[in-house]
């Protein structure tokens, strides 16, 4: 048993070194080779995606490294490696729950607390899906990514190897859930695979469930931006009643009223504001703007009850132009 765990540790260590960047590179090539972005990668969106991919690696990761290497020993000198005795399997379980459940809450609150929505809007503004979406975030959202600090603290306490293992598995699942490659499709197509699909779609984020979260519409049986908040584990959505499993993919992604806010505003709001009038990121823009179709319903005097509810549970929609 110990030899097997040692073997897993070595694999995880290697994957962390070069495996994950290779995976991202490989999926990226696949997505472009098969035209999975469907030629919908305008210059402005490209800038947002690339800046969001690069900046965290230049700013956030060094900041977290500083936090864990310098600050923690200074504040808690007696606690270094205090939990290094925790067996790998249990360390893995503790970190997987601590990290992913914290991210579930961080993500959910950005959808359910109106004041927070604009820090997460950038992640939903694209009208396409792809692995680049996984890191497409406003820089403030990335800096306050609370579970990074939690994981850094756990590493300091002596849970470094299990933390790396969780990181590798989590990055792989979230990248594949955002990817435009529907790897889960065969599980729904072939009856013999249905039992595996049943477990899989409840346990982890799949393209079907996570794409539904990025849909331009909600409550239409496929799109569900009011839920499906899980990142690595989808189980949290099942437990807390925020899940929708349809085994289908939305026809359109993004935000219905999105008109291409400047890449720098999407990356650095509220430091830089959008020049698009009426945008949530504009200087006098609304905190949360409701979907275009609901705006029309409101103007026609219909469905005002739903309108109120949708505005509170927030956000996007997008006409696929």
């Amino acid at each position: 048993m110990e030899a097997t765990i040692e073997f897993i540790k070595k694999i995880v260590d290697n994957l962390n070194g070069f495996g994950f960047p290779f995976l991202v590179f490989f999926i990226g090539i696949l997505e472009f080779s098969f035209g999975l972005y469907k030629r919908k990668w305008p210059k402005n969106e490209r800038y947002v995606d690339i800046a969001c991919f690069v900046l965290p690696r230049l700013v956030v990761q060094p900041a977290v490294a500083y936090f864990s290497v310098t600050l923690l020993p200074h504040i808690f000198p007696a606690f270094k490696n205090v939990f290094s005795w925790v067996p790998f399997i249990w360390g893995f379980a503790i970190i997987a729950v601590a990290d992913d459940l914290t991210q579930y809450w961080y993500h959910r609150l950005h959808h359910q607390v109106p004041w927070l929505w604009r820090f997460h809007r950038t992640h939903h503004s694209a009208s396409y899906m792809g692995m680049a979406m996984a890191s497409r975030q406003n820089v403030i959202y990335t800096i306050f990514f609370s579970q990074i600090y939690l994981t850094a603290a756990l590493v300091y306490l002596g849970l470094g190897i299990p933390a790396i293992a969780v990181r590798v598995i989590k990055s792989t699942i979230t990248t594949l859930a955002h990817s435009s490659i529907p790897w889960d499709k065969p599980f729904y197509k072939y009856k013999v695979l249905h039992p595996i699909a049943w477990v899989l779609e409840r346990l982890i984020s799949t393209p079907a469930t996570h794409h539904a979260h990025h849909a331009a519409t909600t409550d239409d049986g496929v799109g569900y931006y009011k839920g499906n908040f899980g990142n690595m584990f989808f189980l949290w959505d099942i437990i807390f009643g925020t899940a929708l499993i349809s085994r289908q993919y939305p026809k359109a992604y993004g935000i219905s009223h999105y008109e291409g806010d400047q890449w720098y505003a999407q990356l650095l709001w509220p430091i830089f504001k959008s020049k698009v009038e009426g945008s949530e990121l504009a200087p006098n823009g609304p905190m949360v703007r409701i979907d275009l179709d609901k705006e029309e319903q409101h103007l026609n005097g219909n469905n005002s009850g739903n309108l109120k509810h949708d505005a509170a549970v927030l956000q996007p929609s997008y006409s696929n132009n």
Binding site: W105, L109, V288, A311, A312
Partner: protein, 66 residues
Amino acid sequence: MKIEPEVKKQITRNVILSLFIYLLPIVLMFLTFLITGDRPWEKKVHKTENVKSTNNKTNLNNGSND
């Protein structure tokens, strides 16, 4: 714009449940130790003691651990 009272209530309920979920793997780990009688935190202390070098008058290597 404020959060809907129903959403607020659901968040509160779910946060309380989350606290139990956070604790669950830690509780299960100690429960396993209780059942198996395993005490890995003691092994760690033992290991530290073993790595100390010895250098006394009865040591035939004359202080060298080579």
